[in-house]
Symmetry: C2
Subunit: 440 residues, 2 copies
């Protein structure tokens, strides 16, 4: 029986696993540095939670199933609904503001394609309980802090920022009926990905009124936030939302990351639950999907049966990120193995048990140690030791059989010395139990 | 809409997440120290893989579903089938021996009860390509190395060891037909959990022949491996398997962990694929399920369509382990938060933007930093700083408004000094991009 993996899933062999750990490790470090605490939820939840509350695109892509009691369940396609559920459950006892992050594995029943798999990891950070714009700036900062740490610069990536609140007010200023807004957002979301004529045609479908459409196209052509501010026709209606964006850009300037950030009226984000600032991070060449997206969603907790509490956050998947880092030469094709402290070279099959015992004593004392399961020629053993980047090599051979002595070799300097086996072992102490729990 | 979590799943709020990270971090460190490399597979695989190859108990507990193409899939109930698939796919290019570990999230449609949930984490370590008993000893060593590191001692836990090969030969020596073996293993697996009479009744069902049953009960009463060796009636048939166990115990002695280890003829393990040594780690009080179980399964790769290559390994779940660590007082109820480098106390609402900018510069320079979103009284702010165990506090208040100065307070010594804001910021450098990928 030959079995294939499921299409759109990944096998993490040790080199890929090291790369994955490097990405996730970077996400976690950036989160902690920026004051976020880690949480996680179950890999599956009640189906109805996603059907009712995820964006339409996500709800269509659920892997759903039933448990033995016939209850409808689904593998999580995102963690935001779980976050809302968890926060609502303890809303009174959790200290505010809530600054949480997570790196959930999520699954979506999509057609696999470049940068999009049926299973991936998504870094999520969220700030709940802060209505001030400074929280929106912090979310963007945290994403940029991570990306900068990988080696990406403002020449490689751009944070494109707009506001759903502002867009909504501008549509109202054009006297466009509320029920048409969602369709127009969907069209605008495609603007950057399709030719200009195709976009105009799409917009015509969503907004048949020629005059209103003309006004809207004018607004969508805006390049600078200041143009909107100066255009008195719209600015009064959208003033509050525009002011919030101005404040956001001022904060990003104070934070020293304004070179990464720009206004882009074309950013809307697909998900229905955004209510304020929205942003996406793109590669400057524009050849890939968004690396990251987020925004303010002040009605999230309320939608899930909780109180009305402001929230802002973002998500970053690992697939597009990995493609970009590779394109920019920021990850090597073969991730190196971590170095070992000791390699024990066995020169005689009789000594395998001694080697295993010695390796055990080293490991129990807290050192990483490996040994050869069978005797081999010195040259082969030294090659093995170099491959695992062992700092020290212990040679078990004739010296042990004759005098119970071992040869210690420093692999960097090639210096060798002999030592008494028993004395060497006696000096190895059991390491102290690690009771410092809580630290990663 | 109030939504509940699914029964048998866990929410990891930040304190539980810190505990979870401490457990998983310990597993990973022990694995690396013992020379294992990390891998992982998809969270779901083709359903038929588990239906055909997992043990019967596991195959009954699958969460299965269909993708849009109507293919049968299942959330992984264990990672061993994935391991076999991945190794078989690259059997010729992977260097041997293969020493891999993983910490998969796995799901089983069981009735939730103490120490058993419908979703848990299971540490797996496996050695593939070594037929020598030393590999079996290494698997046990790695498990004991981890458990010792948590603070558990030989007074708390016991590694109970037997051999499926030996059991099978002993059954043959009693002239028990091959087709009855599985039923007898299942009965023996229950022996320790039920009263003696109930066991004898169960065995009678599985083996109606009174004479053979009497012989078997005599064998099952064996306490010491030496009794089996000395009982010539059986030892010739089972000699090879008994010798292997003797060698294993000698290796465990050399490794310095024999006080943890004991022979127990009652250990069989439920899963069908074991072919040699089998073991379980139990709490000495015997009040909990097994903490860990494993053994040799030399036909695993072949069962999955690959070549015949020896393998040995083990799995340890997080649920029973956590209960035991709590019972022994080895984890504190509330896991402490990691300490922050800086807390910025804002004494005036006008200064929030300055604080956000300063926090950003600290974070981008690699320090963890937090700030208050709103001004507050000094006492409250200092309490906040202590709660996050900040090493240093930066006070932004009158000194900044008057002279652009900040107050730096060492939270340990309570020493304070003023510094020029601009100069302080200029001395903060962007941290170097972390290109040392591959290291965790």
């Amino acid at each position: 029986m030959k079995i294939q993996p499921v299409k759109g899933t990944r096998d993490f062999y040790p080199p890929q696993m090291r790369l994955h750990n490097w990405i996730v490790g970077g996400w976690k470090e950036a989160s902690l540095r920026n004051g976020f605490e880690e949480y996680d939820g179950p890999i599956f939840e009640h189906l109805k939670m996603y059907e009712q509350k995820s964006g339409e695109e996500i709800a269509e892509q659920l892997f759903s199933f039933e448990d033995r009691g016939g209850r409808g369940l689904a593998i999580r396609p995102e963690i935001t609904p779980t976050l809302a559920r968890m926060v609502n459950q303890r809303i009174n006892s959790l200290p505010k503001p809530i600054k949480w992050f997570s790196v959930p594995r999520v699954c979506r029943a999509e057609r696999p394609q470049k940068g999009r798999l049926r299973e991936f990891y998504q870094w999520n950070i969220d700030i709940i309980g802060v209505e001030e714009i400074v929280a929106d700036a912090e979310v963007i900062l945290c994403a940029v802090d991570y990306l900068r740490q990988t080696g990406l610069t403002e020449k490689d990536i751009a944070v494109k920022i707009s506001s759903r609140k502002m867009l909504s007010r501008l549509l109202e200023a054009c006297e466009i009926e509320q029920e048409l807004h969602t369709g127009i957002y969907a069209a605008l979301d495609k603007k950057a990905k399709i030719p200009e004529e195709a976009f105009e045609k799409l917009l015509e479908e969503k907004l048949p009124d020629q005059e209103k459409r003309q006004k809207l196209l004018e607004i969508f052509a805006t390049k600078q936030l200041s143009e909107l501010q100066e255009n008195l026709q719209y600015s009064s209606e959208a003033a509050e939302a525009i002011d919030e964006l101005v404040e956001l850009f001022s904060l990003l300037e104070s934070m020293g990351i304004s070179e990464y950030c720009e206004f882009d009226i074309g950013i809307v984000r697909g998900l229905a639950y955004y209510t304020g600032m929205v942003f996406e991070i793109h590669d400057r060449e524009g050849s890939l999907r968004a690396i990251c997206g987020g925004g303010r969603f002040d009605s999230l907790l309320k939608d899930f049966g909780g109180p009305s509490i402001p929230a802002t956050g973002m998500g970053m998947g690992d697939c597009v990120l990995e493609i970009l880092l590779r394109e920019k030469g920021l990850i090597s094709e073969e991730m190196p193995k971590p170095a070992a402290d000791y390699f024990i070279a066995v020169m005689d099959d009789e000594l395998v048990e001694v080697a295993a015992g010695l390796a055990a004593k080293l490991r129990l004392a807290g050192f990483s140690a490996e040994f050869s399961y069978k005797k081999a020629k010195m040259k082969k053993l030294m090659k093995q030791a170099s491959e695992m980047k062992a700092e020290k090599c212990i040679i078990l051979g004739g010296e042990y059989i004759e005098n119970k002595q071992i040869v210690l070799k420093n692999m960097e300097t090639s210096e060798q010395r002999t030592a008494d086996y028993k004395q060497f072992c006696d000096e190895l102490k059991f390491s102290e139990p690690n009771q410092e729990n809580g630290e990663e």
